[in-house]
């Protein structure tokens, strides 16, 4: 199927030609990184790509409800992907950045825990507001039974809605998404931070302590930028709303993986070029 013969509207169909072009672009970008900076730069870029893919994949788990959820007419958290992902990802990023001195693995896990906690608190308070504030039970509109608890859903669903509230599976999805997103954001930050700490003293001709603020701030802002790019691309993939891992839209994740990998590779390459040219 070519791009011309594909369905006109945004749907769940894959576009193999574009996917292949995406993979080729990813390889070219990695190749450029290898030419520019074979050791440190390439390793950092691979880390950034993995982090970006984690973010892109993680956002699929988060139950994003959008405007219909704010009116109790669709399940999920009542805001857009950009806001939710930024909240969870930045909470994770701050947690991970705080633990950056403790070692790579601990920092990435701390980032994941930070993002997961942020989403757990958000999901719980959202359900509090739905149940005790708006007086509606949690019910999914996409599945007849909750895949984890086995609770039946249709009898709790109001007529004319697609479900409402946050069923258990959406809650679990939200926390999983937060963990993946937070860990991915922290991974990008750590890779760029270690690259900048190693190269900035020679670029700016200053001591390692002097350039630390620059290294931290530059890595941080690049991580935030890449996080938002990946989150918004994933938001485009799920066309705005998703219920969680049980939603049929979840099956679109391979497209987002390719898109996130290419976008992260491109942005990461630019971030690496800043210290190599």
């Amino acid at each position: 199927m070519t791009a011309v013969a594909a369905k006109p509207a945004a749907g769940s169909a894959m576009n193999p030609t574009a996917m292949v072009i995406g993979v080729v672009m990813l390889i070219i970008l990695l190749g450029i990184a290898y030419v520019v900076s074979p050791g440190l730069g390439l390793m950092a870029l691979i880390g950034v790509v993995i982090g970006g893919v984690l973010i892109g994949f993680g956002v699929h788990f988060v139950p994003v409800g959008g405007a219909p959820a704010a009116m109790g007419q669709a399940p999920g958290i009542a805001t857009g992907v950009a806001m939710l992902a930024a909240g969870a990802g930045l909470a994770g990023l701050f947690g991970g950045a705080w633990a950056a001195d403790q070692g790579f693995v601990i920092a990435v896990i701390t980032g994941g825990v930070g993002g997961g906690m942020m989403m757990a608190i958000t999901c719980m308070m959202v359900n509090f507001v739905y149940v005790f504030g708006m007086g509606i039970p949690a019910a999914s509109g996409k599945v007849a039974k909750d895949p984890i608890t086995g609770d039946t859903q249709p009898e709790f669903k109001s007529q004319g809605t697609e479900g409402h509230g946050l069923p258990f599976v959406s809650f679990v999805g939200g926390v999983t998404g937060g963990i993946l997103g937070g860990a991915g954001g922290t991974l990008i930050y750590l890779e760029l931070l270690s690259l900048y700490q190693a190269t900035l003293p020679t670029v700016l001709n200053a001591s390692a302590t002097q350039v630390l603020p620059i290294a931290v701030a530059t890595a941080g802002i690049f991580a935030i930028g890449m996080f938002l790019v990946n989150a918004v691309l994933t938001a485009y993939n799920i066309t705005g709303t998703i219920e969680g891992p049980h939603d049929p839209k979840f099956k679109r994740w391979p497209r987002a993986i390719v898109a996130s990998a290419v976008a992260s590779a491109l942005c990461g390459l630019v971030a690496i070029l800043i210290v190599t040219i």
Partner: protein
């Protein structure tokens, strides 16, 4: 870059706004180079004017893109604009005087790739997607560069990373912490711009949308962000220059705010000039 001519009912066509916005922004950014030519920091306010012209262009691009109903909300467009823009802008600052042009080209490349990814890999199939994301990335990069000029008076990497600390009133030593990038002001500029670019269309969309009202609101949001940025610039540039930027921002904001209120009243079906809650006697 292909340019799609699109006439919007009762308004200036998008192409015209795009070209005007681009030229204004680049010219304003280069006018700030007078700082170097004259050896002062008095011309930093041109950065703020570059921000406003870029934002006006960007908010109209968001209107063109979001008219197609992308389903993710208007703020996401602002976020991807600045997410890709900040990356291009930071690398571009390495190129000295060519920085605004490099930022333009680099952001256009990043935007083009992101547009291709959204439209083809993610199957969005929105006709203006590639062009809009390209424009938005350029707007994001140039807006951030404008904020950088406004706050530090320079758009070069050295100027943005190096500040100076005065000890005991006389001894001056270089400091990397007291700078645009090292002090984390990039993050503030990022969100000041991202909110200013997405708010106008988010606030004005609907059947009663009017182009002049939305663009006036953009200018108002831009000047409001410029006030905050001008206050922050007191830390990095001379007090006189910062006061000049602040005055220009304040005058611009008051003017655009009054104009926006006038346009809102013009477009409203009816309005009531509600007074504040009256003081009740006997307290």
């Amino acid at each position: 870059m292909t340019v799609k001519v699109e006439v919007i009912e009762g308004g200036i066509p998008h192409t015209k706004i795009m070209i005007a916005g681009l030229i204004c922004t680049i010219v304003c950014l280069y006018l700030s180079y007078l700082n170097v030519a004259t050896g002062t920091e008095m011309f930093s306010f041109f950065g703020g004017l570059a921000v406003i012209s870029a934002l006006i262009w960007g908010s109209h691009t968001i209107k063109v893109l979001c008219s197609y109903g992308i389903g993710t909300g208007v703020p996401s467009a602002g976020m991807i604009a600045f997410g890709s823009g900040v990356i291009a802008m930071l690398l571009a600052t390495k190129f000295g005087i060519a920085a605004p042009i490099v930022a333009l080209v680099l952001a256009a490349i990043i935007g083009l790739v992101l547009g291709y990814l959204s439209n083809n890999v993610l199957n969005m199939k929105i006709p203006v997607m590639i062009q809009s994301l390209t424009e938005l990335a350029v707007v994001g990069a140039l807006t951030l560069m404008g904020f950088a000029v406004l706050m530090t008076g320079s758009f070069t990497f050295t100027g943005l990373t190096t500040g100076s600390v005065t000890l005991f009133g006389a001894l001056s030593m270089p400091s990397y912490q007291l700078s645009f990038i090292g002090g984390g002001l990039t993050a503030v500029a990022f969100l000041l711009g991202a909110i200013a670019i997405q708010h106008p269309f988010n606030a004005c969309l609907g059947p009663g949308w009017k182009q002049d009202r939305m663009l006036m609101l953009t200018a108002e949001c831009g000047f409001l962000s410029m006030i905050v940025a001008a206050i922050m610039s007191f830390a990095l540039i001379s007090t006189g220059s910062a006061i000049l930027s602040l005055l220009i921002a304040l005058i611009g904001w008051v003017y655009t705010y009054c104009e926006y209120i006038k346009l809102s009243k013009r477009d409203a079906f009816a309005w009531l000039d509600a007074k504040p809650i009256p003081e009740v006697e006997g307290h």
